[in-house]
């Protein structure tokens, strides 16, 4: 039985390594390493975005939460889709138009200041590490459970996988690993949903009726997971504004040639990932109905194995070949999901260190193309080793607070400065530093004072700090701007920035032609 699981794992690994081998031969310049040459189609980038966004936390976590707590899990899932409205309509196009490889590029282009770029680097690294550590810890626990190997070897295995993709294949390999993962995940979900619908005679309402009858009307109401009345609002604020401040999501918009393609790729993402988030409610309720909450809890306290257990049940049950095949396939998909997400995070972090910190802050841009790629690979290695070390240290520690922190910091530290950079003429470097500091410090303090860390002794009653830390981030940015000296030259430069951000045209001499030529 283990042999079947291992062979499916190996098949997926072999496929991703073949992609990396192919991608490595096309990765020679910094633009290819960080942005896949900027030539992706909307569909490819849309699938890759979906692969980036449907993490194991979404794949296993949402359905588990719905199986155990009911509606709060469904609210979580729809928040993950609603998150992209602000990205689509406010952030994606200007970010694409004003940056090259990183989110630091946008801030530096607006502020013309190395200090502002440094603040963006700090925002990027903290968010990415907070995002990455729970992924590594989750991977360790999951693979340990599925393959029977130790937590430590599982974390190291994931670390080596992601390092190989990013080191050799850069953004091209990362993109295609994410695309393959998205296709596998969506195919698995489609098969699962068809089978569970067949099991209830294609009447999804049966699921609602059964779950309510067996586990009480509480399952169909909010409050199973959220304890404070403001928890849902704070969660949605976090997602809707935080995703617009996630550096590894922004980086994906540099892989497309123009604003039109950037827009269309978000649309792809919203339909691909959104359909998946929608069916997590059916998957969760079906697990609660067919597998049962007690059995799910027995397999994993957090409920994270609801989906794999449902797959096993629908395949024929434990001990049957079909059940084992389904379970093994789902496990392998979850493994691929983690690999694709950590690869994207590693790449975005190495961009912040190599491109922002080394090339632009330390060397002030005076670096040859070959050295840029070499430094990018070195930074990748460093980030990978750090992520694996932190993943190993996280063993046995409750990393739940980090999951909340990553997105809360993105909403409180990164989002305010990117928004104000684009729309406020007077906003300056002091404001960038003040905004990042205020948002970062307040979200960390509030998260650790909250229920995710202190449980019932929480001083701050709301799990997600964004409801308070995002206003504090904006306040810090505003206060530091108005308290610093006005700079007429800096404010005059806003015209050029805004023109470029909104039109995508870099210079008046070359309108439209420059962008259309790059589409070929």
């Amino acid at each position: 039985m283990k042999a079947l699981t291992i062979s499916i794992f190996l098949a997926i690994l072999a496929l991703t390594l073949a992609i990396t081998y192919w991608a490595a031969r096309k990765t020679n310049t910094a633009s290819e390493f960080y942005a896949a040459g900027g030539n992706l189609t909307a569909r490819a980038n849309g699938f890759a975005l979906a692969g980036d966004w449907m993490s194991a936390a979404a794949f296993l976590g949402f359905s588990g939460l719905i199986a155990m707590s009911g509606m709060d899990g469904s609210l979580y899932a729809v928040a993950a889709l609603a998150a992209f409205l602000v990205v689509l309509m406010v952030v994606a196009e200007p970010v694409r138009n004003t940056g090259r490889f990183t989110y630091g590029d946008v801030i530096a282009e607006r502020m013309r200041s190395r200090h502002a770029r440094l603040a963006a680097v700090i925002g990027t690294i903290v968010v990415n590490l907070a995002y990455m550590v729970p992924q590594m810890a989750g991977a360790g626990a999951l693979i340990k459970l599925m393959l029977g190997i130790s937590y430590e070897s599982a974390v190291i295995m994931v670390g080596i996988g992601m390092l190989v993709y990013v080191l050799f294949g850069g953004m091209i390999a990362t993109t295609w690993v994410q695309i393959v993962k998205a296709v596998l995940l969506l195919a698995a979900a489609a098969v699962l949903v068809m089978m569970l619908l067949a099991a209830v005679r294609f009447d999804p309402l049966t699921l609602f009726v059964t779950v309510e009858a067996r586990y009480g009307s509480q399952m169909l109401l909010p409050g199973g997971y959220f304890k404070h009345a403001l928890d849902p609002l704070s969660l949605f604020l976090s997602f809707m504004f935080g995703v617009a401040g996630l550096p590894h999501i922004m980086t994906r918009f540099y892989t497309v040639p123009d604003a039109r393609t950037a827009r269309k790729s978000v649309l792809w993402l919203m339909f691909l990932a959104g359909s998946f988030f929608l069916v997590t409610t059916l998957i969760g309720f079906a697990s609660a109905m067919f597998v049962g909450q007690d059995a799910i809890r027995a397999a994993d306290k957090g409920g994270n194995l609801a989906l794999p257990l449902l797959a096993q049940y629908l395949g024929g049950g434990p001990g049957t070949f079909g059940g084992q095949l389904f379970l093994a396939s789902i496990s392998a998909v979850a493994f691929a999901a983690i690999l694709a997400v950590v690869a994207g995070l590693t790449l975005a972090s190495s961009g912040a260190i190599a491109h922002d910190l080394y090339v632009n802050v330390i060397r002030r841009g005076d670096v040859t193309e070959a050295e840029q790629v070499r430094v990018a690979r070195l930074a990748t290695l460093g980030v990978g080793v750090l992520a694996v070390t932190l993943g190993l240290l996280a063993h046995g520690i409750n990393v739940g607070v980090l999951v909340i922190l990553a997105i809360a910091i993105a909403a409180s530290a990164n989002f305010p400065i990117i928004l104000l950079s684009m729309f406020w003429r007077r906003f300056n470097t002091a404001g960038v530093i003040g905004g990042v500091a205020a948002g970062l410090i307040s979200s960390v303090i509030l998260a650790f004072l909250g229920p995710a860390f202190l449980k019932s002794d929480a001083i701050f009653p709301i799990v997600n700090p964004t409801i308070l830390s995002m206003p504090i981030g904006f306040l810090g940015a505003w206060l530091c701007t108005v308290l610093s000296r006005r700079d007429a030259e800096h404010e005059a430069r806003f015209d050029a920035f805004v023109f470029r951000a909104q039109t995508g045209t870099i210079v008046p001499e070359a309108p439209a032609v420059a962008t259309s030529a790059r589409q070929d």
């Binding site: 096309k26 020679n28 633009s31 290819e32 040459g37 900027g38 030539n39 509606m71 469904s74 729809v78 889709l81 609603a82 992209f84 409205l85 602000v86 309509m89 406010v90 090259r100 609602f208 009726v209 009307s217 169909l220 109401l221 909010p222 959220f226 404070h228 009345a229 403001l230 849902p232 609002l233 949605f236 604020l237 809707m240 123009d258 604003a259 039109r260 269309k264 978000v266 649309l267 919203m270 339909f271 959104g274 988030f277 929608l278 409610t281 430069r493 015209d495 050029a496 023109f499 909104q502 039109t503 045209t505 870099i506 210079v507 008046p508 001499e509 070359a510 309108p511 439209a512 420059a514």
Partner: protein
């Protein structure tokens, strides 16, 4: 592919130098030109109502989830209640809003941006 991306990155450096040498007045003219203004007005007309309505609907739903449990519990069909209806409507809302935005933006924004750029280029030449 390789040649193209190298071209564009080279062009970017040249362009940056060119832009920095342009006097601020010309950029001021570019952003106050009728072409650029109509682009910004078109964006505001579209994003304002779409995003405003979405935020009110979605954040309103989260407040109901926190403070309006009795309303969420009202049954619509069988066990399916108002709470789940609102969640389902949020999916529909997100998709409809995204489709409207992308269609209108692809139809208008790029054309208006091109016109604004052409106008600004004209200003530079004169």
């Amino acid at each position: 592919m390789i040649e193209l991306s190298q071209d564009s990155s080279l062009a970017l450096g040249d362009v940056q130098r060119a832009r920095d040498s342009l006097p601020a007045q010309q950029w001021h003219d570019a952003v106050t030109s009728p072409g650029f203004r109509s682009l910004i007005a078109a964006k505001r007309r579209l994003v304002g109502p779409l995003l405003g309505f979405s935020l009110v609907f979605i954040l309103g739903m989260t407040l109901l989830a926190g403070y309006g449990r009795p309303l969420m519990a009202v049954k619509v069909v069988g066990a399916f209640n108002v709470g789940y209806l609102l969640i389902l409507l949020t999916y529909v809302l997100c998709w409809v809003v995204a489709v409207i935005y992308v269609n209108v933006a692809n139809e208008n924004f790029d054309r208006l941006a091109g016109e604004a750029a052409a106008e600004a280029a004209g200003g530079v030449r004169s």
